[in-house]
Amino acid sequence: MHESSRRTRGKLRWSKLYSFSCLRPHTSDPDSAQELIGQPGFSRVVFCNEPQLHKRKPYKYTSNSVSTKKYTAVTFLPKALFEQFRRVANLYFLLTAALSITSLAPVKPLTLIGPLVFVVGISMLKEAVEDWYRFLQDLNVNNRTVKAHAENGLFVDKLWREISVGDVVKVKKDEYFSSDLLLLSSSYEDGVCYVETMNLDGETSLKIKRCLEATLHLNEDEKFSEFKATTRCEDPNPSLYTFVGNLEFESKIYPLSPTQILLRDSKLRNTDYVYGAVIFSGHDTKVVRNSTMSPSKRSRLEKKMDKVIYLLFSMLLLISLVTSIGSSVVIKSVSQWWYLSLEDSDPLFDPSNPSKSGFLQFIRALILYGYLIPISLYVSIEIVKMLQARFINKDKKMYDEATCKSVQARTSNLNEELGQVEIILSDKTGTLTCNQMEFRKCSIAGFSYGGNINEVDIAASKRMNTETEAYRSSIDQSDTTSQSLEMSEFSVVDIIAQQAILRGHENADNSNARNSRLSDVRKESVIKVIKGFNFRDDRLMNNQWIYRSDFFDMTMFFRVMALCHTGIPVEDGQTDKLKYEAESPEEVAFLIASQEFGFQFFQRTQSLMTLKELDPSSGKQVKREYKLLNLLEFSSSRKRMSVIVRDEDASSSIGLQINGGAYLESTTSHLSNYAEDGFRTLAFAYRALELAEYEQWNSIFTQARTTVGPEREELLEHATEMIEKELILLGVVAVEDKLQKGVLECIDKLAQAGIKIWLLTGDKKETAINIGFSCSLLRQDMKQFHVCLSKETESKNHLKDMKEEILHQIESSYQVMCQDNNKDSPFALVVDGRALEIALKSDVRGQFLQLAVNCASVICCRVSPKHKALITRLVKKHTGKTTLAIGDGANDVGMIQEADIGVGISGMEGMQAIMASDFSLPQFRFLERLLIVHGHWCYKRISKMVLYSVYKNIAFGLTLFYYEILTNFSGDSLYDDWYMVVFNVFLTSMPVISLGVFEQDVSSDVCLQFPSLYRQGQRNIIFSWSRVVGWILNGIVAASVIFLANVYIFSPAAFRQEGHVADITQFGAIMYTCIIWTVNCQIALIITHFTWIQHLFIWGSILLWYIFALAYGALPPDYSQRGFKILTESIGAAPLYWVATFLVTTAALLPYFTHIAVQRLLSPMDDHIIREMKHCKKDVTENQMWLREQRNSQRSTQVGFSARVDARIRSFKEGLSLKRISIYNNLLGFSGNLKTQPPQPSPPPAAAYEAKISQAFSHMDNRQDILGNNSPEIIRWLCNLSESELDMLIRLKSLILHRAKAIGHDELAKNFDLPTLRAVGLLLMEYLKGKVKDLSQVQGLTKLVAFPECCNLLKGNPGEDSSMEELKACIGIDERKRPTKRPGEEATKLKKQRF
């Protein structure tokens, strides 16, 4: 199969399809560039096909292997140690460990060195493992193979890392280029090849590369045996789009341009093979040069933690200073203390030199009070983060079945940062979209087809229904009569929507035997999913369109669709359907669509396009050939492309084009509807040409084409303008750039969580905006600011002008923003890549970023990888907010590295993004759970953990200091050395770890239901300075309470019945017990989520202390020192010990407990309330309230699906209430005795709207007749009715009046009062709905879709053959034409359509 297609099309000159490109001049002036060669910066010489010359200097260049490792075996130790000791705390501990060996140390060296080695060791091990994975990844890349020329035309497999500069390599279809190559020739005769540069710049369209004419003939293996050439070119640089060089071949010099350069990491597409010579290898390649250094990232919280540690340090210094001063002051009086025998010289207690003693005491105090610095915190955090990362990796809800991948936390030190993200910078293609186009809708000759009602409307109407229902049932239970029609007004949308969605499905279970055949067919069509074609409309599908009256337009439409493109068909082995390849994926989508509609484009030769067309008259497929005369390719200025073809039998040529000019009115509305749904829209139009006119034009065009010089573009433009006019619009198609699964919901949730999403894409503006709409980053009522350079300025390329222009745009936008403070219409900013480049220049930057951060969404298009990284950095720096960058390709690497958190999508494309990322996700949608659930949790966990650790160490460390005061600042410690070691390592660490790993303030469902809980992290309210200080104070209080209470309880009287007095060992052990109890009970007060693990750890830790005391005390006194039989003999037996523990623990916790009790009472935080609501089961018992709060919490959201729905509902409601007021006023006007009626809540009166209403009423026959003579009760009742109900009542009444007049008995009409009419109306509605259901099952009804519209008596606009979209528009937009036709007429219309 592949072979045959190669034979038929392999040598096809594709390039000819692009009629401009072959004659397009080089972008840069080749002559001036050539002069540079040989100058500094342009000195590289490459001997093609002579790699052996590059083995020695001066032509020895770097090898092709690439390394992303941070360390090597040699550098690991120094580098990793350096990294570790960059942490100030670690440095301090290193210092104390060193000092502990000297005699100064108050404790044994092991107690200080042990923990440090443990902490640093674990962190380094982690680094080593991470680097090992990077090494494996490099190995994988470097060991790929490519065919390289060995000798005599023989190509052998070579590993990538062995490729050297000068090698000639042969790259096959869909392979990646191993290094930067000079294209020598390709499988195409004219030496072009197609390259996908997705990994470089994220652009999905194929790029054409073309070899020099001179090397064109080198297209077979054998021809390389003799080939020799020399390239002189620029030195390695990161610029992807420039290249300066020349090729000396057969003693001639040819200039080279970027067109001849194939860049590493791009992919060969649609070309069987190419030959190329390696110019840059390995780290010299442009893509490697383009990448920036990978920074080691630390989370914001950790940075703040450093500051907290500094604070503790200053505390430490302070108390050490106090100790040192104290000791040097008292040392004088100490000299009187003969029992200390200070005669033998101890520098620490030298009364003759108090300052020296003081200093030494200071050093000793620094070591002794080291317990203030939570050294174990670093270890616990490392362990906790590792476990958190494991939980993230193991989360089943973030596992993608399709790719069999789950989320990977590649570095675990940013877990808590996930809970603080404020700005997400997202790539588009591959991240939000799956780079797949789908044909979704079309509008032909003014009718829209394939329309599902847009999801926003469905959601809006659904929600309004439930809201109304809730409102009615809660507020207005007594008034059963006003079971509102308003509900059915929205229900209609529901029905239609569901029908539209379920069409096909619902027939599957149709048991009607008569329809079985049809349903079979339908079932089939539903089951068969066609890639790129997501269109359901029975009016067109299965060739039903030929029965429509406007089949001529349809035929033309499909024909144009099948002809106007650049694609080629590819045979697909299995079916008779063809597949297509084309320059852009949109073209593929509508080629597939036209094939589905019966216009199969099945062959293209150089000048002939062959279609298999469905002939509407016969219903058979006929083969027709079109001679391709001209192809005017797409240009961004014209925004259209066209082909001129000649029909085989008709003498006239037909000009066809895309994105044409004049639209029919309905088509325009369809177009804007499509655009709002985020579809890419393309219009098709055609024009019949007379042969003579064509020939005349063709000569002008050919002349323009062949012109060489600056005026060429202009001439061509002019020529195309001549022919692309007076077009007849056929219709538009809507193509969906398919979003990845769940993207919409994910963005919605993220927006609710207060995260701003910036879209950075390499694509062009229109595409970017479309995607903005389709993922709800933009909506229609948003004010869009566009910042882009005008054509003239851009062409002048004058920096100052450009700056001025951009600045002007930014400032005017900002003014608009300041003036307009309406919260309901947020702002969006759309920036073009070129403009962005200017805007990021240092002097404009400030204003630009200020504008950008104030916009609800920002879209940057045509952005290069460098700029992506730059904007990320600036946003990070300027706003100080936490940024997250997400992308999938190599072009996103810079931004991923630059952002606070980099996330790579492990989708289809390469590994670079993942390798550079901190987290890798299989799908964008998992970001929701990663941030809102795991991020939130991790943030809270780590914050609480840090705060608690600070508290714990202060509570412990300060008792040491207090004791110092009582020992006359002599530097002795109250506790046994081993007590001090086990305090942080065993007795209090497990509860902290359980807090850090298992704590959940709210469950994951609640996190997702209330994304606004995420804002706690963004505002950093858990780890704010006030809380840090609060916890420090709590620690101080706890230490003071514990110490003082113990001193007063145990001194000086006996503490046992046996008369024993507590000595230092017992006193220490008792105090230690109190501390263990206090800190462990304290953590029990913090933890809000107790599983058996927390219970085990907390209570186990306390128990462990007693076990430890027993075991330690049981050791021989040589080892146990102060702990010898402490529990069994001395303190354990004393009731006072236990009673005092109880008292001290309670007293030490009392301040905190009182504080949280007051805080919960007066200013509870959101998570407290929500937990309480959950606790009271309010989510079940008061579901309405639960849901309402969920919505309320989103109130400030400005982008995302929900926000769009909100906006829509707002506009619904506004319209509705306006109408009610008008109608009410009208009624009031007729019956003036109702002045006491309480006025409706009044939004600002809309004069225009009122005018419209009264106009609508004015052509009623006689409004006095209709609405007069009503009792006040009825008027009041009327005011409660919805506007649509009123509409119907008025219309029914007017019909009855009319009828009554017709038969000459006017008084009969009076029998029908309004309540009666309402009952009639309801019956009528029900009847019609039933009818519609029946009709939908009747076979062969081509206009099935039209029927539900007709039942919409209350709203419909049934005069015309309106489409679903229009119906939807009617519902959505209240300012519609008021129907003048009466229900009776509508019913007849209905009948007409049936037959």
Partner: protein, 309 residues
């Protein structure tokens, strides 16, 4: 070395998956542990809980406090300072000299009046104030090893410490200490094993605070009220140089040990405070009730502008 990943594209897909990616592809198994869905108790700090816990603490603490206060009140304690009184009047102004010379008679006799019945055992303590036995110099100078080992010069080594400050030439009962297990069976000198040098052992148990008592002896007989006890004290120990105080203490014990009213008072104070807080909270809840899970306290409802506090 360029520290980033730009190596090249499509590795994971095109090539046979490396060992790394092979691991990745494992589907996580479901367990309540890995999915963080372990059954958990989620206590809520409800007003009921707050008030209940305050009341419980109050109700539990006050009886304990009363009990210990009661116990403390029943302990009879007699404290007599003797360092001043034991200096003969002519040395009053030169107490240092008095204590340092060997010429003076250091014996002094005090009479102590027992105010209340003191049930046996009555413990005799000596109390020192402003004496830093916990001083690092002091702590470090002690060598437990030497005390334990059969060092022949042990006596000499500890001799400066064994310069015991006061001898109780009491007319009463033999010493009968139970203490002594702590310093093992090493003998100080052949005549008396160190373990029986109980005075020394007691002394060697370093006091934690500068104000401390040491057990000296025990009177295994009830002391009736208004009994007069005559105590002969050998006032040897020099506390005059650093202004320390020396006291003789006679005390009975209860289950909480010696006289210790602080414990009882602290218990009662904390208990009372908790009851007071409980009452306060009841009032606050009554005056400004916040129903549990009241959504109006949610930040978005409190701040309709959408700004969180």
């Amino acid at each position: 070395m360029i520290g980033e990943a730009t190596s090249s594209g499509g590795g994971g897909k095109d090539d046979s998956p490396a060992a790394v990616s092979g691991k990745k592809n494992k589907k996580p198994n479901y367990s309540r542990f890995t999915q963080q869905e372990l059954p958990a108790c989620k206590p809520i700090l409800t007003p009921g809980w707050v008030i209940t816990s305050f009341i419980v603490v109050g109700v539990v603490f006050i009886p304990i406090g009363l009990a210990s206060l009661y116990a403390s009140e029943h302990v009879v304690e007699i404290v007599e300072r003797y360092d001043k009184d034991c200096i003969p009047p002519d040395y009053r102004n030169n107490s240092l000299h008095y204590i340092q010379t060997s010429e003076t008679d250091k014996n002094c006799t005090m009479t102590i009046n027992v105010p209340k019945l003191m049930k046996s055992p009555v413990f005799i303590y000596y109390e020192l104030d402003n004496f830093y036995q916990n001083h690092r110099r002091y702590v470090k100078s002690r060598s437990d090893k030497q005390l334990r080992s059969k060092a022949s010069e042990g006596k000499k080594n500890i001799a400066w410490k064994s310069d015991q400050e006061h001898k109780f030439g009491s007319d009463i009962y033999p010493k009968n200490f139970q203490n002594g297990s702590l310093i093992g069976g090493g003998k100080l000198n052949p005549s008396i094993p160190l373990s029986e040098q109980v005075d020394l052992i007691v002394w060697m148990r370093t006091a934690a605070l500068p104000n401390f008592r040491k057990l000296y002896g025990k009177i295994e007989k009830d002391l009736q009220a208004n009994t007069t006890i005559t105590v002969t004290i050998e006032n040897n120990y020099n506390t005059y140089s650093f202004g320390g105080k020396k006291k003789l203490v006679l005390s009975t014990t209860s289950w909480i040990g010696g006289k210790n009213s602080f414990l009882g008072r602290a218990y009662i104070a904390i208990g009372g405070l908790c009851l007071f807080l409980a009452v306060c909270f009841v009032f606050v809840y009554l005056l400004k009730p916040r129903p549990l899970g009241d959504p109006s306290y949610l930040s978005w409802n409190r701040n309709p502008s959408g700004q969180m506090n």
